[in-house]
């Protein structure tokens, strides 16, 4: 595909369940980002990968959140023991080069997570 692909598109979880959200970046893009977007808010940075290396995870809100990109392409964001405040849209973005903070990002359509 030509763009960033995220799955599932929607996820409903019971409080306490673990969830895994997948991101397929644009082929060849070195940098990958995860953002959390609450209703009516701007995206909030969670974490950033350059190839398989997680260079910045300062935005992850708690140790229940974990992200990986083991082969430098597909990434998974895992949330353990989900809580209601985790309900949000989780956006993945990729960019072409190594200087990711000086490039435009290409976003997927997001995964909307609802925790009941």
């Amino acid at each position: 595909g030509a763009g960033v692909s995220q799955s599932p598109r929607y996820k409903v979880a019971k409080r306490g369940q673990d969830v895994a959200l997948r991101c397929d970046p644009i082929s060849g893009h070195v940098s990958l980002f995860w953002y959390q977007q609450a209703l009516g808010q701007g995206p909030e940075f969670l974490t950033y990968f350059q190839n398989e290396a997680q260079l910045d995870k300062s935005g992850l809100p708690s140790d229940r959140f974990f992200a990986e990109r083991p082969e430098g392409s597909v990434s998974t964001l895992k949330i353990q023991r989900t809580q209601q405040e985790d309900s949000a849209v989780y956006l993945c973005a990729s960019s072409l080069g190594l200087r990711a903070t000086n490039e435009k990002l290409f976003f997927g359509s997001g995964t909307q997570l609802s925790v009941l």
Binding site: G40, G42, F45
Partner: protein
């Protein structure tokens, strides 16, 4: 009525008008800025960017102005069309921060 959490600033314009959306950024260390457009149910989409060594950049129907003295960005959209209706975010590269957003509503 308005839903909780949907307190975005809103700009309502008529089709054909020019629109100006403003943004105050937070970090003096930021040297690269981007405007994104987000339609309902979609991820943000790149519109235009500007680096800190410039104060103005023009694209197709859009212009971005940067005032580093007061840490202010603006996005100007010429001849606004109904398809421009969306939420617009500015983003700065230091800490990869997005602004809150402005909802643009364009009436035919």
């Amino acid at each position: 009525g308005e839903s909780v959490g949907l307190h975005l600033p809103t700009l309502s314009v008529q089709e054909g008008d020019n629109s100006i959306i403003n943004c105050a950024y937070s970090n003096s260390a930021s040297d690269y800025f981007i405007w994104y457009k987000q339609e309902s149910g979609k991820g943000p989409q790149f519109i235009i960017d500007i680096r800190s060594n410039m104060d103005k950049r023009q694209g197709q129907r859009v212009t971005v102005l940067l005032n580093k003295t007061v840490k202010h960005l603006s996005l100007q959209i010429a001849a606004t069309q109904p398809g421009d209706s969306a939420v617009y975010f500015c983003a700065e590269n230091y800490r990869l921060v997005f602004g809150t957003g402005t909802r643009l509503l364009v009436s035919p």
